[in-house]
């Protein structure tokens, strides 16, 4: 197998760590030195070789550990995975989409054999080899959505489309940036986005919804979103705020480089064929400030973005209290030099440390 999987934790002793490879392909989310909400959507049709955009569902070195973490979260709180009765067909759509994509994109790790509705799925990294009947729930250990998303990195929200809106009627959500599936289930696009500052007034959600309602089969789309997390914690849920909220106060000038993580979400949008539902995978990538600062362009840029970010956004993203400390740290990596456009590290001029 081409990927060496890490054995690491996202809780307790936090042994999560990015290799040089993972850092090189980290989706740094700022294409310029400032940030504001926008309808930042593009086609999800591959990307540079080795980048996180290349495959439909990216698999990386954190795969097995993330799946272990998901199983832990579900054991403590089964409501992180819910599917209203109208969404079962969409669950099968999702299972099919992921199995077909992964077996085509990573044939060395995943294999799908189909004879009519008799399917066999082999997931080598997770040592799974299951045979089942497509569209027959009784032949799988979980519902179709839960079955496949226990084997796929990232959160998944499955939206029913009706009345010119999208409805959050199913999901597997264990790596979220402080929102709750159990709270949002059954809500529509405007209802679950209600807490977001500024974007409503800017007309972003009206335009974004229009775009999403028209996402077509065979033409997926994507965007990036980001926030900040203290410690490499995947499960920053409102349900567990009492556990992780207090960790924000453990950051000091001495440990901020290793404790403070930039959290980037690769969000993709796929139309599901049999149900006409939409699936919204939210894949979370974490990188510590220390690691990010090894790329000079990212150091300069992150400082400028965090410094100039409107207060409402820093508050909503939950780091307003720690912002001064972040800026003290980040300013040391900003020599004031100009930065190039785009999200990629300047590979030619600024070789990465491996």
């Amino acid at each position: 197998m081409t990927i060496q999987f890490n054995d690491e934790t996202f809780r307790g002793d936090y042994t999560f760590k990015n290799s040089g490879w993972a850092l090189k392909r980290f989706p740094f989310p700022f294409h310029e030195d400032s940030y504001m909400y926008s309808v930042n959507m593009e086609q999800h049709k591959g990307g540079p070789a080795g980048s996180i955009y290349e495959k439909r569902f990216d698999v990386d070195e954190h795969y097995l550990s993330e799946m272990r973490d998901r199983a832990e979260v579900l054991k403590e709180d089964p409501l992180r995975c819910q599917s209203l009765p109208n969404m079962t067909l969409a669950g099968w759509d999702l299972l099919e989409l992921i199995m077909v994509s992964k077996s085509e994109d990573y044939p060395d790790m995943f294999e799908l054999q189909r004879k009519g509705d008799k399917w066999r799925w082999i997931n080598k990294p997770m040592e799974i080899d299951d045979s089942f009947t497509f569209l027959d729930e009784a032949t799988l250990p979980y519902g179709p959505m839960e079955y496949i998303t226990r084997q796929t990195q990232g959160d998944f929200v499955v939206l029913d489309q009706r009345d010119e809106n999208l409805w959050m009627d199913a999901g597997m959500v264990t790596t979220q940036a402080d929102w709750s599936l159990d709270f949002d289930i059954g809500m529509n696009f405007f209802e679950w986005h209600a807490p977001v500052p500024k974007a409503h007034e800017m007309g972003i959600f009206v335009r974004a919804l229009k775009f999403l309602l028209n996402v077509q089969q065979g033409a997926p789309a994507r965007r990036l979103n980001w926030t900040m997390t203290v410690n490499p914690l995947l499960d920053t849920s409102p349900e567990n705020y009492h556990k992780w909220g207090t960790q924000k106060r453990t950051v000091t000038a001495d440990n901020i480089g290793e404790k403070q993580f930039l959290r980037v979400e690769l969000q993709t949008f796929f139309r599901l064929p049999r149900s006409n539902a939409l699936v919204f995978p939210i894949r979370c990538y974490l990188a510590s400030f220390n690691d990010l600062m090894t790329v000079p362009k990212w150091g300069r840029r992150l400082h400028r973005v965090i410094r100039d970010l409107p207060e409402e956004l820093a508050t909503y993203k939950g780091f307003i209290d720690n912002r001064p400390m972040m800026l003290d740290y980040l300013s040391k990596f900003d020599d004031g030099k100009p930065t190039s456009n785009g999200i990629w590290p300047d590979r030619e001029t600024e070789p990465l440390r491996d």
Binding site: L89, L135, Q216, Q217, G218, A219, R274, S275, N276
Partner: protein
């Protein structure tokens, strides 16, 4: 490119069903499988009709699970602009064509406890696929299908044979029509209503349901407006700096495309909103035909849906 992803196909079967309706089946040229789709989806069929490329939407009516072929049924419209005439008169088995990926603007609401379907004439087509989808999941459905006469009721025999208890036929020739008021009144809570047919039928059925207090979320309908022929007119495309003449038998969108200007579209039937275009200047009368723009938008003279709407007057300048 505008529209959705494309599939290259060849015509594999042409089956006349009655005097007006013909069924066309397609196979992929690359030998791959077709994408599955959801009942109610349509495909845009590209036709090379002489010098014009026509793109007309037709409901997919094959089994959504059958990935080996797609089928549509086309009613010949002798007064139309020619798309259906081209399909009926010129197309041969073996001809190459281009279809779009399926797009669904008329999908089933899978929360429904029961699906009540009202079809008029060729409006039967999306229900053919929806019924196959529902049968597979043991869905609860009932179809009320009205047609001019038994000889002009495509698929009625097949439906009656396979589903004698779910299908009810009504023929104008026998003076039978759907007793909608009683039908709607007797439905269990959680029933959803689906209507596909001519405009008059949709307005009538939606109106009845609304009067009886049906919630709008439970009423679904689809009317594909075939673009109507009309008086030729001229349009200035400001962004592309082109003056374009729109002929009698082509739509404004087709004329824009003929000039090599890439304009967005999806349904080409006035329903999806993709081709909405801003009007910069106008002196004349808009002939709005779409279901998309609100009445006040139509009155504002600032928007037009070029897939079905036209213009009659001296000047029309579009931001395209």
């Amino acid at each position: 490119m505008s529209g959705s992803e494309k599939i290259n196909v060849e015509v594999s079967k042409i089956i006349p069903l009655n005097n007006l309706v013909t069924r066309f089946e397609f196979k992929r040229i690359d030998g791959e499988l077709f994408p599955t789709f959801s009942g109610g989806a349509h495909t845009i069929v590209e036709m090379k009709d002489g010098g014009i490329i026509r793109r007309n939407p037709y409901s997919l009516m094959s089994d959504p699970m059958d990935q080996h072929s797609y089928a549509i049924s086309v009613r010949r419209d002798d007064e139309g602009r020619g798309g259906s005439l081209f399909m009926h008169n010129s197309l041969q088995v073996g001809d190459d064509m281009v279809l779009s990926y399926p797009v669904n603007l008329f999908s089933l609401d899978l929360r429904a406890k029961k699906h009540l379907m009202i079809a008029g004439g060729i409006g039967i087509t999306p229900f053919m696929a929806q019924i196959k989808q529902l049968d597979r999941s043991q869905g609860n459905w009932e179809l009320h299908y009205s047609a001019r006469s038994p000889s002009l009721s495509a698929y009625a025999d097949e439906l009656l044979t396979m589903h004698p208890n779910n299908v009810h036929m009504y023929y104008d020739s026998e003076n039978k029509s759907i007793d909608l008021e009683n039908l709607l009144d007797g439905q269990p809570l959680g029933t959803h209503l689906y209507i596909c047919g001519p405009k008059g039928m949709i307005d009538w059925a939606v109106g009845q349901a609304v009067n009886l207090g049906w919630p709008s979320e439970a009423i679904h309908y689809e009317e594909f407006l075939a673009p109507k022929p009309g008086k030729p007119f001229q349009v200035m495309l400001l962004a592309s700096d082109k003056l374009v003449s729109v002929g009698e038998n082509e739509s404004l969108l087709e004329a824009i495309e003929r000039e090599g200007v890439d304009a967005p579209y999806l349904c080409r039937g006035g329903a999806c909103g993709q081709c909405e275009t801003t009007v910069i200047e106008s002196d004349g009368e808009f002939i709005h035909m779409d279901h998309w723009l609100e009445d006040e938008e139509k009155l504002s003279r600032k928007k037009i849906m070029p897939c079905v709407s036209r213009f009659d007057g001296k000047t029309l300048v579009l931001d395209r």
